[in-house]
């Protein structure tokens, strides 16, 4: 029976057993908590949309007057070469009048995927704001993309021509200053926005005409 005792798989029976046990436990936790986590994330998105589209003052004013804007979520599918891209679009309306769109999208950052939310005005030629929902960029460098200071560069700037990241001081409002030491993260965010703007231009224009 020595070969059984020497067998590596037999020696590892405890590891395999607890791995199965823990796996089942984690699956249980995920089933139980997954929907709540998903709801938190959705709520966060919906909370941010008014301020991004209407500006902070505008959103605060509406909240104070207790007439929150009407937000209609929808999913827009864009056919790219060989693949489909999905965008969550939140149309913001006040008293039936379209005020703009909040757009949720994601793309590859330096460390992991970056998920963000940005605002567009109804004529789609202006970006009204940016919020980073999810990122795992380098602490102290790339994660500065979440700061108000950096994000304020994305308030009320033309969406066309495409935003450009530059090192050093930006001179016009279509230019975004890179974070020192995190040019890749800065460029990633800007690219994500640029491609969303160009992908969504046609579908959103069509939707408005109807």
């Amino acid at each position: 029976m020595d070969w059984i005792r020497e067998n590596k798989i037999m020696q590892a029976w405890l590891v395999l057993t607890i791995a199965l046990f823990f796996g089942a436990m984690l699956a249980g936790v995920q089933i139980k908590l997954g929907p709540t986590i998903e709801k938190n994330r959705r709520n966060e998105t919906l909370e941010k949309v008014p301020a991004l589209v209407l500006g902070k003052e505008g959103a605060d004013k509406m909240a104070a007057e207790n007439r929150p804007p009407l937000i209609t979520p929808s999913t827009i599918t864009v056919d790219k070469i060989g693949r489909k891209v999905y965008y969550n679009v939140y149309a913001v309306r006040d008293k039936g009048e379209l005020k703009g769109y909040g757009i949720k999208t994601n793309g590859q950052g330096y460390a992991d995927r970056i998920e963000l939310l940005f605002g567009l005005n109804p004529t789609l030629d202006k970006i009204t704001g940016l919020f980073i929902l999810e990122q795992k960029e380098t602490p102290g460098l790339g994660n500065k993309i979440v700061t108000d200071e950096w994000r304020s560069q994305f308030v009320d700037i033309p969406s066309f021509p495409a935003l450009k990241v530059i090192k050093g001081k930006a001179s016009t409002s279509g230019e975004i200053e890179a974070i020192t030491g995190a040019t890749i993260s800065s460029r990633a965010v800007t690219d994500i926005i640029n491609s969303a703007v160009s992908d969504l231009h046609q579908p959103l224009m069509n939707a408005k005409d109807n």
Binding site: Q11, N40, K136
Partner: protein
């Protein structure tokens, strides 16, 4: 792998030792990554301490329960699996019920997996002693860790923002030392507090 050797510390000794004499932060200098990273606010520090405490307690109890079955060359794998599981549970729990905190702490919650306090306690105590002793050990060490984190966080938050938990401590005229809530502030504060602790506990000094 049993606790019948007469000189093994008792549950009470383990508990007391974790709080001050073997404080994880100031005496063992373990788990310094979260100690430096999340102590710019007391709330974040306490959440981190609670999450680490939960993982430490669960990992210690679990390890102690299966200590008779552990093979020496496979024990680290078992510890890591156990710790990773409970860290994931803590992470999911925070994301579900303390969403803001989970976003503030970000990657540092999953990083509890590599917090060496936990694997150290599994190795030193839980793999050798009974469940009761291991649990007291975990609680003692967690309190010690919470003490370490909150002492640094209190200094940094007060000097950096003049406030603690939104309560103003220093007068409004206080020029916020922003550097204290930035990474360098963590090193300054930890270094100075460590020097103070060492000075106070210097042997033969009264």
């Amino acid at each position: 792998m049993t606790d019948n050797s007469s000189n093994a510390p008792t549950a009470m000794e383990r508990f007391i030792q974790g709080i001050l004499p073997e404080n994880p932060t100031y005496r063992q200098l373990l788990g310094l990554c979260p100690t430096l990273a999340v102590t710019n606010g007391l709330k974040a520090a306490l959440t981190m301490a609670a999450a680490t405490g939960f993982v430490l307690l669960c990992a210690n109890v679990m390890t102690s329960l299966i200590r008779g079955l552990l093979k020496p060359h496979l024990r680290i794998v078992v510890f890591t699996l156990t710790i990773a599981t409970f860290v994931t549970i803590a992470d999911r729990f925070l994301a579900a019920y303390l969403y803001d905190m989970s976003k503030t702490l970000g990657p540092y919650i999953p990083l509890i997996i590599v917090n060496c306090i936990i694997i150290c306690r599994c190795e030193v105590c839980a793999s050798k002693q009974s469940v009761w002793v291991s649990a007291s050990d975990a609680v003692g060490q967690s309190l010690g860790f919470a003490l370490g984190l909150s002492s640094i966080a209190i200094v940094r938050e007060i000097l950096g923002t003049g406030m603690i938990f939104q309560f103003r401590i220093l007068p409004v005229q206080w020029p916020d030392w922003v550097i204290m809530v930035l990474p360098p502030g963590a090193f300054f504060t930890f270094g100075l507090l460590l020097a103070v602790v060492n000075r106070l506990t210097e042997p033969g000094k009264k």
